[in-house]
């Protein structure tokens, strides 16, 4: 089962998982993975200059984007030997390489463990107009009907979507796309149509997207090490 990050805390690695990472990718991979946890813990303990939640979240977006964009870019074919492979954050960090969806996945789960409601996050299939190739980014919606901010591995800058004319959105999803009982979008909104402050978000059952489903299964497997 996928761990549920209701309240911010670090990522826990079992000694077996760490040994496995060490065996597979060496000390550097292990260090990268441990760094991720330290990054999350550091973000949580950071003294916040702003009182507004939105501003805190915005700071976290910037840090998250920078943290993941340091990972070198490789195509799946070059890195994993298959055409399309969605790696778990641990795989991306351990192997120290990834492509656009691996960045988006890593950023998504980092923000999730920092406590940002997943309703605000969507992984988006886009067309990169300048390169004219399929691409994937993470969108952050401060409010449901707001202009989202885009976390992209092509740029360390976080811009509103309206400024990213180079991206053409095609399809988006997140954990929440699968309706789970007693918890749908309507009930997590307050009277003003804003996200409720005390909303508890839980992940969905399973996804309609095969690769996403496989990814969640792999992450669950990592937890059993």
């Amino acid at each position: 089962m996928l761990p549920v990050f209701l309240f911010a805390s670090g990522i826990e690695y079992s000694p077996e998982l760490l040994r496995y990472i060490g065996d597979r990718w060496g000390d550097k991979g292990q260090k990268n993975v441990l760094n991720w946890n330290q990054f999350i813990l550091a973000q949580q303990s950071l003294p916040r200059l702003h009182s507004s939640k939105l501003q805190i979240e915005h700071d976290e977006l910037i840090a998250d984007n920078l943290f993941w964009n340091r990972i070198p870019y490789f195509t799946d074919k070059a890195h994993w030997g298959i055409d399309d492979y969605w790696a778990t954050p641990i795989e991306t960090l351990g192997s120290n390489g990834g492509d656009c969806e691996d960045y988006s996945i890593g950023k998504y789960f980092t923000l999730k463990s920092l406590g940002i409601p997943i309703q605000k996050l969507r992984i988006v299939y886009v067309r990169a107009r300048t390169r004219n190739e399929p691409h994937m980014v993470l969108a952050y919606y401060p409010e449901p009907d707001a202009d989202p901010f885009i976390l992209d591995n092509l740029t360390n800058q976080i811009l509103p979507a309206s400024k990213r004319t180079d991206l053409d959105p095609i399809f988006s999803f997140n954990d929440d796309d699968l309706w789970s009982e007693g918890q749908n979008i309507a009930s997590s909104l307050n009277d003003e149509g804003r996200w409720s402050e005390d909303t508890q978000f839980i992940s969905g059952k399973s996804s309609q997207i095969r690769l996403w489903r496989d990814l969640l299964a792999k992450m669950a497997l990592e937890q059993t090490f």
């Binding site: 969507r122 988006v124 009907d145 202009d147 309507a186 009930s187 149509g193």
Partner: protein, 651 residues
């Protein structure tokens, strides 16, 4: 419950569970599959709707959006379609009214198809506009599941019943020998050493059959060889070596026993046949010819009146004694004439140089106070008359022992018995038989008595022959049985076996038999304790009838026993076929037991043969206390009538 039933029920229940399990798994799989189909179907619907609705919603054209939704919804596959905006406000809501279903309520409530709502986001570019929430309608799926279930049930039940039918015949076939084994086992318990004829294919059963058959054959062959030995010894002791007829000892034993047994003997004839000039013949022709003449005479006598049982013996030299019982005077005369005629024909046809003369004298008697000595004297006189007449013809005299016992006496007895029956002056005495082992009572023998007008008790041995002669025996037997049963029902403190003497004539009476059957049926408590005793002489004439009678009364819980056992040639053979409850030895063997080693040997032979058949032996008419000790030592089970066992009234 029989093993067959238990196994059949067990396996068919197992089958039923299996079939129910298969059905359950099948329906559950179908349900899971259909449910996944429904979920994927509604997800597809919501995804495609979200794409189509994107421009209408962003333009705020709700009417157009609703038209699109209607087109989708009206296909009837959806329970509800809901469009909400990002604030959660409902833009469009479509709900299928709940329609009554033809399916049974229990089916829907047990199968319960979950149709979770599926969502898709409506967006235009980066802007989220709202969500489509679609729920599939399970109605069609329920219908499909129902048909699947009914169809599967039909087929499975069909296969189930075919399997049961197959199982039934399969088990029946395996168990067929078991039925026969069971019957043979029961027969062996009743000392009927049969064998199982079936040859079961099942190895265990075949071993059982082998064991039973070996055991049964072994025991019955042991019994058989004992019987053969005894028969051989008896034959040697009782047979005249030359003519193979009975010897004098055997003749006298049989004759006396029959005379003692007046209940079954109404009348009789005794012939004495003597070859008058035998000494002369012997001198003239030599002993070898003399012997062959005697043999010829014997075989001629034996072959006369083949269809009837009679005693034939060579009592000494050239004298033969022939006796037949229960026949009319005319029949006796015909029998005598036939003997004479045959002898004349056979002997003198041989064209011996010397003409053979013989005497044939006879005495006809009715029961009453007759003795063997008296009869022999009378017959001897008749034979001398015949010899002196010189023409080899029959002289038949009527024996009158007691002048009171003439026709007048006979009519007196008839009226006496009828009056006693009418006035209910019939009673009975009980005489216990005591076991040697622990001096406990083995049984009570019930002895019928008529109370004469002067209060005297007339024993059955006196009035029964008269009752038989006047066909009153069935009335007397009925009355006695009724009285005894009535008494036993009242005196419940008297437990154990009771023995009742029945005349053989009564059980050949159809009306009496149907009465007895229904009487025993309706008094089964006493019937189960009752043993009917018959004298050996009475029933050996018709063993087949007796066997049927015994089967009949055994079904009703009663049993059968033999009185005056041991004199008939077939005595040991019917022990095996009729398997009496016990036998009472003929008094002939008891009277001079202490001196007579032949009797002692006979009794110990009877003991060794009856032991494996579990037939008890009771001795009566014991005169000396020493005899008791000896009988006990020989292995007799009990005794009757000495000192303590005097018959007494018990009511």
């Amino acid at each position: 419950m029989t093993m067959f039933k238990q196994i059949f029920i067990g396996i068919s229940l197992g089958f039923l569970f299996l079939v129910a399990g298969i059905e359950l798994i099948y329906v559950n799989n179908a349900r899971t599959y259909i449910q996944e189909q429904l979920a994927s179907h509604s997800q597809d619907a919501s995804t495609s709707l979200s794409m189509v609705l994107s421009s209408s919603i962003s333009d705020g054209d709700i009417v157009r959006a609703e038209t699109i939704v209607n087109a989708m919804f009206d296909r009837g596959y959806y329970q509800s379609i809901l469009i909400i905006n990002t604030r959660g406000d409902t833009l469009i809501r479509k709900n299928l009214p709940s329609t009554p279903t033809a399916l049974p309520a229990w089916f829907i409530s047990h199968i319960r198809l979950e149709t979770p709502p599926t969502e898709s986001m409506i967006s235009k570019g980066w802007t989220q506009l709202g969500r489509v929430i679609v729920t599939s309608s399970p109605q069609l799926a329920y219908l499909q599941l129902w048909h699947t279930m009914v169809g599967v049930s039909f087929w499975l039940l069909g296969f189930y019943f075919i399997a049961l039918l197959g199982l039934y015949f399969f088990l029946k076939n395996i168990f067929k020998p078991l039925k026969e084994i069971e019957q043979v086992a029961q027969a062996i318990c009743e000392r009927d050493f049969r064998i199982v004829k079936a040859k079961p294919k099942t190895s265990e059963l075949s071993e059982v059959v082998k064991a039973i058959n070996t055991l049964s054959t072994k025991i019955s062959s042991i019994i058989e060889s004992d019987i053969n030995t005894v028969n051989q010894l008896r034959y040697e002791a009782n047979t005249d070596a030359l003519t193979k007829l009975d010897n004098r000892r055997s003749f006298e034993q049989q004759f006396k026993n029959n005379l003692d047994n007046q209940t079954d003997i109404g009348s009789g004839v005794l012939f004495l046949v003597q070859i008058a000039n035998f000494m002369e013949f012997n001198f003239a022709k030599g002993y070898i010819s003399g012997d062959s003449l005697l043999k010829l005479t014997a075989s001629t006598i034996s072959s006369t009146w083949k269809e009837r049982n009679f005693i034939r013996s060579r009592i000494n030299g050239a004298t033969f004694a022939i006796a037949a019982f229960n026949l009319s005077h005319d029949e006796a005369a015909d029998f005598g004439l036939a003997i004479c005629e045959h002898l004349n024909h056979d002997i003198n046809l041989r064209a011996y140089e010397l003409e053979i003369t013989f005497g044939c004298g006879a005495t006809y008697f009715r029961n009453g106070n007759v003795t063997l000595g008296g009869l022999m004297g009378e017959a001897d006189m008749a034979m001398l008359q015949s010899v002196s007449s010189g023409n080899n013809s029959l002289v038949l005299l009527d024996y009158k022992a007691d002048p009171d016992d003439g026709d007048m006496g006979s009519i007196f007895w008839m009226q006496f018995i009828e009056k006693a029956l009418n006035e209910d002056r019939l009673t009975f005495l009980a005489q216990p038989a005591i076991g040697f082992k622990d001096s406990s009572r083995l049984q009570f023998e019930m002895l019928g008595r008529i109370i004469a007008e002067n209060g005297e008790l007339i024993p059955a041995s006196t009035f029964m022959p008269m009752a038989i002669r006047h066909n009153l025996n069935t009335l007397v037997d009925k009355k006695l049985i009724q009285k005894i049963f009535h008494f036993m029902n009242k005196k419940i403190e008297i437990t154990g076996q009771i023995a009742i003497n029945l005349s053989i004539r009564s059980i050949h009476d159809y009306e009496f038999m149907s009465w007895l059957t229904s009487f025993l049926t309706s008094h089964s408590d006493v019937a189960r304790r009752t043993v009917f005793e018959f004298t050996e002489f009475g029933f050996v004439e018709d063993l087949d009838y007796m066997r049927k009678f015994i089967e009949k009364i055994r079904r009703l819980g009663s049993n059968f026993a033999v009185d005056n056992f041991g004199l008939h040639r077939s005595a040991f053979d019917y022990l095996q076929t009729l398997r009496p409850a016990y036998i009472k030895l003929s008094p002939i063997f008891i009277k001079d037991l202490l001196q007579n080693h032949a009797s002692q040997f006979f009794i110990s032979s009877v003991v060794s043969i009856t032991k494996p058949l579990e037939i008890g032996i009771i001795a009566h008419s014991i005169e000396h206390e020493e005899s008791l000790e000896l009988l006990k030592k020989l292995g007799v089970a009990g005794y009757q009538g000495y000192a303590t066992g005097i018959p007494r009234l018990i009511d």
